[in-house]
């Protein structure tokens, strides 16, 4: 195989080389004297086009290109958790230590630390027969994550040797005799091509919601474990904060946060906060179950393209160990722009707004890698990958190509609304424009907390819908001109919005709302509606209700720390409403 060719042309991240007759699409190559990393993206005649993942300044035609003949891979093994990688899986913490606070290009380091020893405990014995995907043994990677070392894909045989002990990732921990008689040493590190989904035994229907502690999501627009969701919205509408909230509080086992073409300070914030924040369910630090990929906006655009696949591949690997993994991509629009950039340089015929014709296919390809599966291997191990992506539509216009395409492929849509954001109604998820295909999963989940949950939810949605219609009218004639029954609906909808949907991410108590509290608050609010209606019919003016202290207290139920406090407030509300009723009965008599 001919490995070394020569650069003929450099146009930004696009390199055209000659003299690589054996190149295949997807081959990784080292470009120029600085050995920058690139990938073959097009072959025509004796010209090979490469996309370079690093800044190409200073590179010259005539410099060599060395083809590795191998695709871009993710390195998988102990040491992933708590790391912060760039899109090519280089540890940014390590790069910082080695090269200082500014990025230097052409610097290559092994993704997983080579010097660290991990304590490996076998789960099988010498003489056992193993097939691909079987667990060979475990490493306690963090107090939360037990890293399960899997028999690599494609390997079946009999264990010849396996031992407990402290090993570096590249040291053999076992030896397997293949059916051919050949012996294969197994280490704790494996590689997998990022653009190829990892295999599994079979797909399962999704059954459980990913619980996020965010009321508007959990109660109204949930996403399934193994499902997909998109969160589109103009700048400043709350995509990142919502996704941060999910990264912090969701009940996924592991969270992979891909900062794709977004702000450096936002990544710095999560990396700085996660080591301090505690998981509300396990009490363990969030950093012990998180992996970051920080391909920020001022890093080379081309690497954004790879970063998403890198993150998803790591997620699949953890899924195969039997974990529920949440993948967060902020923002898929920046990834799509990287596609557009390359496509433009390749002079492909653009479809809409300069995006290539294969945009939809690529977007679908990413979301299709979500799912709940039975992993390879003897035991029926179940794991899932949930993918949630921010979309950043230019001008906030959802009809643009990336947003409109994404909406077709996801199971839940959290549509952000700039108007709500201006009013500081956060999360600014518009309840009329959002959707979920996973409502069916809620029965079992919420049924555990309250058999009537469905009634509360439906009533709440009805009120919200009716109120938005009434608001249209009120905008023209004024609220005062509406009859009191309708003004009550406006009042209840205001209570639902302010007291339920609004959830301040930085509120000490309300940043995370446990399930029993979510149902309880909704129950109290809907209960208020039921009690208030007869009062209005009996002639009590809406303004009198509004003046009741306990009605305004409904807006603060979410700030209460315990269910008891919420129930006390609810009891007080009943008493106040009853005395109001009595007052009007006296008047009427």
């Amino acid at each position: 195989m001919i490995r070394e060719g020569v650069i003929r042309r450099i146009n930004g991240s696009l390199i055209i080389a000659e003299g690589l007759p054996d190149a295949k699409i997807g081959d990784v190559a080292y470009i120029g004297g600085q050995r920058l990393i690139g990938e073959v993206v097009k072959i025509s005649g004796n010209e090979v086009d490469l996309q370079c993942y690093e800044d190409t300044s200073g590179l010259r035609p005539g410099e060599p290109v060395v083809n590795t003949g191998k695709p871009l891979v993710a390195e998988l093994g102990p040491g992933l958790v708590g790391e912060i990688f760039d899109g090519l899986e280089r540890s940014e913490l390590e790069l910082w230590r080695l090269t200082g606070p500014f990025i230097k290009k052409g610097y290559r380091i092994a993704p997983l630390r080579r010097d660290k020893k991990w304590h490996f405990i076998p789960r099988i014995k010498v003489g056992d027969r193993v097939t691909e995907g079987d667990i060979l043994g475990i490493v306690r990677e963090t107090s939360v994550v037990e890293h399960r070392i899997l028999t690599p894909v494609g390997i079946n045989g009999v264990v010849e040797r396996i031992e407990e002990g402290d090993f570096r990732v590249e040291e053999p921990i076992a030896e397997i005799r293949l059916p051919s008689g050949e012996k294969r040493e197994i280490t704790m590190v494996q590689v997998w091509p990022v653009r190829i989904p990892r295999p599994y035994k079979r797909r399962l229907p999704v059954t459980d919601p990913l619980f996020t502690g965010q009321r508007v999501i959990d109660m109204f627009f949930p996403v399934a474990k193994g499902g997909t969701a998109a969160i589109p919205g103009g700048f400043g509408s709350g995509k990142t904060i919502t996704l941060h909230q999910i990264a912090k509080w969701s009940d996924a086992d592991i969270v992979i946060y891909i900062g794709c073409g977004e702000r450096g300070n936002e990544m710095a914030e999560v990396i700085t906060n996660f080591p301090q924040l505690e998981d509300p369910r396990t009490g363990k630090k969030l950093i012990e179950r998180a992996i970051f990929i920080a391909n920020v906006s001022n890093l080379p655009v081309s690497a954004r393209e790879a970063s998403v696949y890198m993150g998803v591949t790591i997620a699949e690997y953890l899924r195969d160990q039997g974990y529920h993994v949440a993948v967060i991509i902020d923002s898929t629009s920046r990834w799509a722009e990287a596609l557009r950039d390359l496509s433009g340089r390749l002079e492909e015929i653009p479809a809409e707004e300069g995006y290539p014709a294969y945009l939809a296919e690529r977007i679908a390809g990413i979301y299709e890698r979500a799912g709940k599966v039975v992993a390879l291997g003897g035991a029926d191990r179940v794991g899932s990958v949930t993918i949630m992506g921010a979309v950043s539509p230019p001008g906030g216009d959802f009809s643009e190509p990336v947003t409109s395409t994404t909406i077709r492929y996801v199971g839940s849509l959290w549509a952000l609304d700039t108007e709500l954001a201006y009013r500081r109604h956060f999360p600014a998820i518009n309840w009329l424009r959002s959707f979920t295909k996973y409502v069916g999963l809620l029965d079992e989940f919420w049924g555990r907390y309250d058999p009537n949950w469905k009634i509360y939810r439906e009533r709440a949605l009805e009120v919200l819908e009716e109120a938005s219609r009434l608001e249209e009218i009120a905008r023209v004639i004024g609220e005062k001109a509406l009859p009191d029954e309708q003004r009550l609906i406006l009042l209840v909808s205001e209570i639902i919005r302010e007291g339920y949907l609004v959830q301040h991410a930085f509120h000490e108590v309300d940043t995370y709302c446990p399930p029993e509290k979510q149902v309880e608050i909704l129950k109290v609010i809907i209960g208020f509606y039921d009690l208030a209606r007869p009062l209005i019919e009996a002639g009590v003016p809406v303004d009198r209700l509004r003046e009741l202290r306990s009605v305004m207290e409904l807006l603060r139920l979410k700030e209460k720390k315990t269910l008891e406090e919420i129930m006390e407030d609810s009891a007080r509300l009943k008493t106040e409403l009853e005395s109001l009723k009595a007052e009007y009965e006296v008047k009427a008599a």
Partner: protein, 468 residues
């Protein structure tokens, strides 16, 4: 064949084509991508350019200077290096043009350090999240859109609005609470008028800021393409002052709209497929390489706070320039013609304005425990008031409910007393919060739902009076 270093300094007279700011030079063996070239015109003037596209036997060059007088017999020298500038503390107090030529009559700077101008990326793992509150003395900023050290917060404006006056006020008044350190100011002008520049210069002169400032100027009649260079030169200097000399730097970049127009004209010359309104698809990433140069670094003292100014074309906030800027910066301050017409200064409309880093810079131990809640409540109340005002335009004030009328009154008072202030009025944060509370007390206490009960009891004027 290794035509790299030996070619450094090679001079070619083989220009084959000149198209707008682009020039094709033939016979060049292996020019480096982004390599700097010096082009000598017939009249002896020299302009610089960089290599945009390089082939085995030719190079496409983008020139940054005036292209009038450029002809096919121009001499092009390939320097063998990417664009770098010399840095030292002697730069402080100096004035340069967009290609780093002195405009102050002093000699060209000689520096100990030569740094690359185009590529400078802070490793995200090395960033320190900004968290120090900057008191600008302007209530609508400090109270509701606080700026913190290391933030990038642009002003979105329109022609004729007082963005310059406001930026100058910020530069003049900004301090970090409890510290006496002053900001050094790096001022970068792109396509602004002489008179605007003179305003800033006078301002800086009067306040003594000139001795702590560096200016990089590309004015309205300077070469348009040089605007691509100017902010990068300014920021290379800024980073040096901040991260080598431990200074706190406020960089003002104005007008980013002129910058983007320069970017567009190159893109059109290159015949690229545009994304929206003729602007190139890579404008987001290009702007990010400018705006993301702000911030703080772990273990370093200095900071880069960025205040870009841009005029929104046609007042349309969905235009790619404000839109892509908003997607990168950590918030935005939006000036409104309506408020300006009412005589309100600074005419910042708080509703669409935002400071994303405010939450990290305010609160107990930083400003005051009720700060964030008060801000949230002001937002909510003002939004209600504006809604009531819109309604009253349709049905008249009499048609409003009592509640709506109260909010309408709140909105009016809020604009007059909170937003509005003097150009030389420097309000401490306590004063800003005091005005806010006075205004909030126009509303029923039960409606202050964004504020915790504890803070209401502690700061609401009603209870404070009782306590006195």
């Amino acid at each position: 064949m290794r035509p790299s270093r030996e070619k450094a300094g090679m001079v070619y007279r083989t220009v084959r084509e000149i198209r707008g700011p682009l020039m094709i030079v033939e016979g060049v063996r292996g020019a480096g991508y982004n390599e700097v070239v010096e082009v000598k015109l017939a009249d002896g003037t020299e302009i610089i350019g960089t290599v945009l596209d390089t082939y085995s036997d030719r190079a496409v060059i983008q020139v940054f200077g005036h292209t009038e007088g450029l002809s096919l017999d121009a001499a092009v020298r390939f320097t063998g290096d990417v664009l770098r500038i010399s840095l030292s503390d002697d730069l402080i107090g100096r004035i340069f043009n967009g290609s780093f030529k002195p405009l102050d009559g002093l000699p060209e700077p000689i520096g100990k350090e030569r740094r690359e101008v185009f590529v400078s990326i802070i490793n995200p793992a090395a960033r320190e999240p900004p968290s120090e509150f900057i008191q600008t003395g302007i209530s609508v900023i400090d109270g509701m859109n606080s700026l913190v050290r290391g933030q990038k917060l642009p002003i979105f404006s329109e022609a004729g609005l007082p963005h310059n006056v406001m930026a100058a006020q910020v530069a003049r008044q900004s301090t970090v609470l409890g510290r006496e350190e002053e900001f050094a100011v790096v001022f970068c002008a792109m396509g602004i008028k002489h008179e605007e520049y003179e305003f800033f210069r006078r301002e800086f002169e009067q306040t003594g800021a000139l001795d702590r400032s560096v200016m990089v100027l590309n004015l309205a009649d300077d070469p348009i393409i040089e605007r691509i260079l100017a902010p990068r030169i300014a920021l290379t200097i800024t980073e040096y002052l901040a991260f080598d000399l431990d200074m706190h730097v406020l960089a003002i970049l104005t007008d980013m709209t002129s910058y983007c127009e320069a970017l567009r004209s190159i893109s059109i010359a290159k015949e690229e497929v545009p994304a929206r309104k003729g602007y190139p698809g890579y404008m987001y990433s290009d702007l990010a390489t400018i705006y993301e140069r702000s911030g703080k670094i772990k273990g370093k003292k200095g900071s880069v706070t960025l205040m870009p100014i841009l005029t929104i074309p046609g007042g349309d906030i969905t235009h790619p320039i404000p839109d892509l800027t908003g997607y990168i910066t950590e918030g935005q301050l939006i000036l409104s013609r309506d408020l300006e017409l009412k005589g309100i200064y600074p005419p910042v409309n708080p509703l669409p304005s935002l400071s994303r880093l405010m939450k990290d810079g305010v609160g107990s131990g930083k400003t005051r425990e009720d700060h964030m809640e008060v801000s949230n409540q002001l937002y909510m109340a003002y939004a209600e008031g504006v809604k009531a005002r819109d309604l009253s335009r349709i049905i008249g004030e009499l048609g409003l409910s009592e509640r709506e009328r109260r909010y309408l009154k709140f909105a009016d008072e809020f604009e007059r007393k909170f937003i509005n202030q003097g150009i030389y009025e420097n309000r401490p944060i306590e004063k800003t919060l005091e005005i806010a509370w006075d205004l909030l007390s126009l509303l029923p206490e039960d409606e202050l739902i964004r504020i915790s009960e504890g803070n209401i009891k502690k700061y609401h004027p009603k209870y404070r009076k009782m306590a006195v």
